[in-house]
Amino acid sequence: MSANDRVRVRGLSICRPIIYGNTAVALTQKERDGLASPDHTHRWTVAVRSAASVPGSGQVGGADDLSYFIKRVTFKLHDTYPNPTRNIDKPPFEVTETGWGEFEIIVRITFIPEAGEKTMTLLHHLKLHPWTLSGEPEIPPLDVALKAGPVHSWQYDEIVFNDPFQNFLNLLTSHPPTPIPRQKRHRVPFHTANPASFEESKGKGEGDVPPEFWVGMISEEAERLDEARKKVIGEQERMRNALIEKEQEYERLKKALTE
């Protein structure tokens, strides 16, 4: 390792798109009977993956092996699970379990030593039951849940490294991330920040291809935000004009009162 390697490259930030979240499937009665704890109703997998999906793989994301910059992912499950802190040191960084309830999972990402970065903590709410439009949780009967297919809850994010060390930067650039597709091939994952995607993100039952992140979701969201901002500013403009008018009226009234 040359001395140059441990020099930070200033004025540069490099990011890696990841997704984290879970998929969950309801268990049939037969499957439940085979479990150690038969009160568990779902089998779920919580994972940290790269954002792009492998076509036909049947899973959301995971096109790249993230172990080139992630050393370990720790999933902190609910305390009722045996050995609730699960350290995953090898890809795939995921934990599969069965359970009956939703809870918050603390996802802690440890980077490789070359990064010289502290661990990063993310929080994921384990989602077992299908999304609803109202946002209120609803537990459908078993046959409905089975028919609806797996439940997906994924959050896209970008891990940003500022002024990385030269050797870490070399490492990152030797693994360019697989870009998320430019065309929409499948349905999009549902997200509470975009309730409008509810219908579109619905699965078509068992055997359905999982949702996929694609480039258009970025620009669509940017457009949504921009539109909302223009609307709000227009509204404010209108209010400000009204306010100025009213202020003048008030001035007149005040004058009339003092006369």
């Binding site: 930030s13 929080l123 970008e158 500022n162 991330p177 920040a193 975009n194 709000v232 404010q236």
Partner: protein, 515 residues
């Protein structure tokens, strides 16, 4: 000058003499061969035997305009009245137009009647951004002193005048009868106007992108000191007496003479050194100044520049030119841009004052952690409701990319500003109601003194209520305010403008903590 007999004859319009004999038959055929574009006189001088350049180059004279002949009739023009859409008084004028033109067409010059955008501001905006009177002024020079005189009334008046006279500053200055003790100059008016506009644009949420905002702000720049200096210079330039002019001229010549002497001296010294030591003298070069250190005023320098021989202007390259090059942004080739996009690399310009210490390093972060937190204040439920109505979340993004986080930031800012405006609007509306009621009571005459004070107390009480509780009781009168509060809750429309504090139903559970 040799004039041939034929020429004299033709000039005097004498009949051609047959006695001219030998010259005449020779000349006649040559006249027929005379090439186009040569005057007859010239041709007769140079003769046919001399091929001339002029004969080869065809003259490019302006073509005789082809006027309409019998075949195509002249275009018909007609005098018609037209509507100037830029006029508001509906004055009908007439102009000549081609008869073939559609009389209904838009007046083509109407579009040049552009209006300056007018800026207005509310009391609150004035208090927050524009009020210079209350600011703790540091009296470093007279500039702040002048700013102090601006009150809202004066600023209002200035803006009214600007609108009325469409930014014709000299007219505005002429018409503005500001208090004489304020002593406003034309520049002070401009300074105030442009600084107010800039502050408004800077502090209001901007619908477009950042670049257009910066362009607009730059178009409203006004440098008071520079402008005042410019005018001072102009005045002093104009008011020079002829003696001063003569003296200046003499001084200039003197300077030039000195410079030349110096240059010659330097040259000779160099020569001497080279002959003696065979090397450069190594003595510092004489800076070829252009008169500034000798105390010549800048305006005379500007005048004299034209007269300066160009050969003397060989200035050595200034060090500032070389020193500024590192700050110039490196042009990014498309290839490297593609590389950066592929690896998700964002390069930022390094500012030289950033300390390169370990403490300054920003640790790795998730992009979503840069989503601004909602401050847990009175505004929060309203912001949440507003976002919910737009189908968005103030704390989460589907795709938290750099641009989207930035967009959300802008949106949040806009929403906060809007709710702020709304709060003031509601307050003023309420004040109006109170004032109207008071006025009505006074005009009612039947009101007794005691009752009036009770009403005033009541009004004050309610007034406090609106300030603490926000937007309740909007549009309610003094008397019916109590009942209006309960009524308000029942019919609340779902437009953004109807956001009020009673709606706290938007859940905050969804918000996540991020590390």
């Amino acid at each position: 000058m040799a004039v041939s007999a034929a020429d004299v004859r033709s000039a005097l319009s004498l009949p051609d003499s047959s006695a001219a004999g030998p010259s005449n038959p020779r000349k006649q055929p040559s006249m027929t061969r005379k090439p186009e574009g040569i005057s007859r006189e010239l041709y007769s001088l140079i003769g046919p035997s001399q091929p001339s350049l002029a004969a080869q180059a065809k003259p490019r004279l302006k073509q005789k305009p082809k006027f309409a002949t019998g075949a195509s009739a002249a275009t018909k023009w007609s005098l018609r009245s037209f509507n100037n859409s830029a006029r508001k008084d509906g004055l009908q004028l007439k102009h000549w137009a081609k008869a073939s033109e559609d009389p209904e067409t838009e007046y083509p010059f109407a579009k040049y009647n552009t209006q300056n955008p007018t800026y207005t501001y509310s009391q609150d905006e004035y208090n927050r951004f524009l009020d210079t009177a209350n600011r703790s002024a540091t009296p470093k020079d007279g500039k702040i002193e002048i700013e102090k005189y601006w009150t809202k009334e004066l600023t209002d008046k200035l803006f009214k005048l600007y609108q009325e006279y469409d930014g014709r500053w000299h007219v505005i200055w002429d018409r503005a009868d500001f208090p004489p003790d304020a002593g406003f100059d034309l520049e002070d008016l401009k300074h105030r106007y442009y600084s107010v506009c800039r502050k408004l644009i800077r502090n209001r949420p901007w619908p477009g992108d950042e670049a257009s905002r910066v362009t607009l702000i730059n178009s409203l720049q006004f440098d008071l000191e520079r402008e005042q200096m410019r005018k001072r210079y102009l005045v002093s330039l104009e008011s020079r007496t002829s003696e001063q002019l003569a003296e200046e001229e003499a001084l200039y010549l003197e300077v030039r003479r000195l410079e030349q002497t110096e240059r010659r001296f330097k040259h000779e010294r160099e020569e001497l050194m080279r002959t003696l030591a065979g090397m450069d003298s190594g003595l510092p070069h004489l800076v070829e100044d252009n008169g500034a250190p000798l105390g010549i005023l800048p305006e005379s320098r500007g005048l004299n520049k034209k007269r300066k021989p160009t050969g003397m202007d060989t200035e050595p390259p200034t060090p500032s030119g070389a020193g500024s090059s590192p700050s110039v942004k490196r042009p990014q080739s498309t290839k490297s841009a593609a590389y950066d996009a592929q690896h998700c690399i964002i390069r930022t310009e390094l500012s030289s004052n950033t300390p390169a210490t370990k403490a300054a390093h920003q640790p790795a972060y998730a992009r979503s952690s840069k989503i601004p937190y909602l401050k847990n204040n009175a505004m929060q439920p309203k912001i949440l409701q507003c976002f919910a109505e737009m189908g968005l979340s103030p704390s989460r993004l589907v795709m938290p990319t750099k641009e989207n986080v930035h967009q959300l930031d802008g949106l949040l800012e806009a929403v906060t500003a809007m709710l702020d405006t709304k709060k003031h609007l509601d307050k003023v509306e309420y004040d109006i109601q109170v004032a109207k009621k008071q006025l009505a009571m006074r005009n009612g005459e039947g009101v007794e003194e005691g009752e009036d004070t009770v009403k005033n107390e009541d009004a004050m009480d309610v007034d406090q209520g609106t300030e603490t509780e926000g937007n309740e009781g909007r549009g309610a009168s003094v008397v019916s305010i109590r009942s209006a509060r309960s009524r308000k809750k029942t019919h609340r429309s779902m437009s953004i403008s109807s956001v009020d504090t009673t709606a706290t139903s938007v859940s905050t559970r969804k918000r996540q903590k991020r590390g």
